[in-house]
Amino acid sequence: MKNKLYSTGNVLRSILLTLPMTLISMMMLSQGGQALGTLEDTCVYLAACAIYNIAFFLMLYKGEIDKWRAVVFATSAVLFSVSFMNNLIELRGSVTYSDADVLSCEIPFCHIVTTMVVIPAAIKQTIIFPGSIMTGFASISAMFVIIFGSSIILGRGFCSWGCFYGGWDDAFSRVAKNPIIKKVNVAYRWFSFAMLIIMALWSAATLAPEYCSWLCPFKLVTERDAIVDTETLLKNVVMVILFLGLVVVLPLITKKRIQCATFCPMGAFESLFNKISIFHVKNNESKCIKCGKCQRSCPLLAIDSKLKPLINCSKCGKCVDACPTGAMQFHIKGTPVGTKITTARLLFLYPAYTLMVTLIGGSVVNAIKIIINLF
């Protein structure tokens, strides 16, 4: 069903608007030609390009951003895990890391670690993470550039368009047709900010990334401690409980992205960048009929009682799609509200989708090859 407010209206116009993204995605996914080695590689590359561009086309033609974003986002997250874990098995023989890997500084830098290294980096001028500064997969300098660069551009949009963990949460929050728990206490939206302050200070006190050590549920789908003693056993148990609870069960029964909305300290950190980003979601009060559909649909509890998006909005587009009057809209700071809505929407979509295609797309291509080779 088309969203009449935002649908482009015809196929040709949608194709023309998709063309720039086609060129961008083909350029970025080719990785400078490296992705086009053999015939099989080229076919996989073209398939990935097709998937991403069909989704983008449907966003424009149907006028529904969130639905098609979520399909690609969730698929990308799962395929990223396949690719990542396969890389680790090729490199180390296992998805677990031991003391030897930590001492060799061979741990890929995850973006969530940023929240824990900031204070020691400022005071002690060192990075308290056993990774590589320049070499290897997900080096510290590369992730630093990508995280800060994309956060300045999109703000917390990173959480809905770039984070390869968020797709898991997003996926499980869409499985059920109706929520079992219909009302989630909106105060929990601030829990991730409490987590941010505590994790940042605790990690600074111990000079170790404690959230990664003890609390990150996504280690289950990437890499985790090898179980060698009681402590590592406990860490793995906590990881499984948190993944099942925050990423699977609670999103299933509430239809909210519980891990992202309430627990992830990086989400709270990214929210601060919403103050800098030129893009945001705004409620045009002249069109708002106060039906509350936006607030009920928001997966991150990011809309307040006055139906205004808060600092923790991740610009996923769900409220924009849900709004019956078009009051909720993508907006560019410094421009009049309610004018050139489609322009603002497109100007946001292009960089956001570029991030998704480039950051996770390479892993998606790799994962498709791995799956094909399995058969």
């Binding site: 720039p20 961008i24 350029m27 970025m28 031991s98 003391d99 030897a100 930590v102 001492l103 060799s104 500084c105 204070i119 020691p120 980096a121 400022a122 005071i123 002690k124 001028q125 060192t126 990075i127 308290i128 993470f129 056993p130 990774g131 500064i133 320049m134 080096s139 510290i140 300098s141 590369a142 630093f144 550039v145 990508i146 660069g149 994309s150 551009i153 600074a204 006190a205 000079l207 030129i278 893009f279 560019i332 700071k333 410094g334 421009t335 009049p336 050139k340 322009t343 603002a344 100007l347 946001f348 292009y350 960089p351 570029t354 991030l355 480039t358 950051l359």
Partner: protein, 127 residues
């Protein structure tokens, strides 16, 4: 004002692409930042002495002071061992008896020592 805003927004796609197209260049610049080095409590610090033989190799690192502000009352010295080593080693003016094989490592006379198995040997951290 609105034209400036639309212009800035329009350049964001190109900026996003440039992050990844010129990633190597940005990485080189980021690596020059003053905090872009791994904390010595993780790496063990610079190697100040080494003992090399046919059967073993020993690297003794400089002592590092743990803590957010480098608490100088504590010093942790890392020793990396490859191969089988039986003998004495002097660290921070104290002598330690080391017995290291591929299966086990023992440090005698230490107040506190942690041992970590590596691919080809052991890493000891003596406090």
């Amino acid at each position: 004002m609105k034209y400036i805003s639309y212009s800035i927004a329009a350049t964001m796609t190109i900026m996003m692409m440039l992050i990844f197209i010129n990633l190597d260049g940005w990485m080189q610049m980021a690596a020059q930042l003053p905090f872009m080095k791994i904390d010595p409590t993780i790496t063990g610090g610079e190697v100040v002495d080494s003992i090399v033989s046919d059967n073993y190799k020993l690297w003794i690192h400089e002592g590092v002071h743990p803590g957010l502000f480098e608490d100088k009352s504590r010093t942790i010295t890392q020793i990396d061992i490859e191969g089988d080593y039986y003998g004495k080693v002097t660290v921070n003016g104290k002598q330690y008896e080391l017995n290291a094989t591929s299966h086990d490592v023992k440090v005698n006379g230490e107040e506190y020592a942690a041992s970590f198995k590596r691919k080809n040997g052991w890493t000891l951290r003596i406090e």
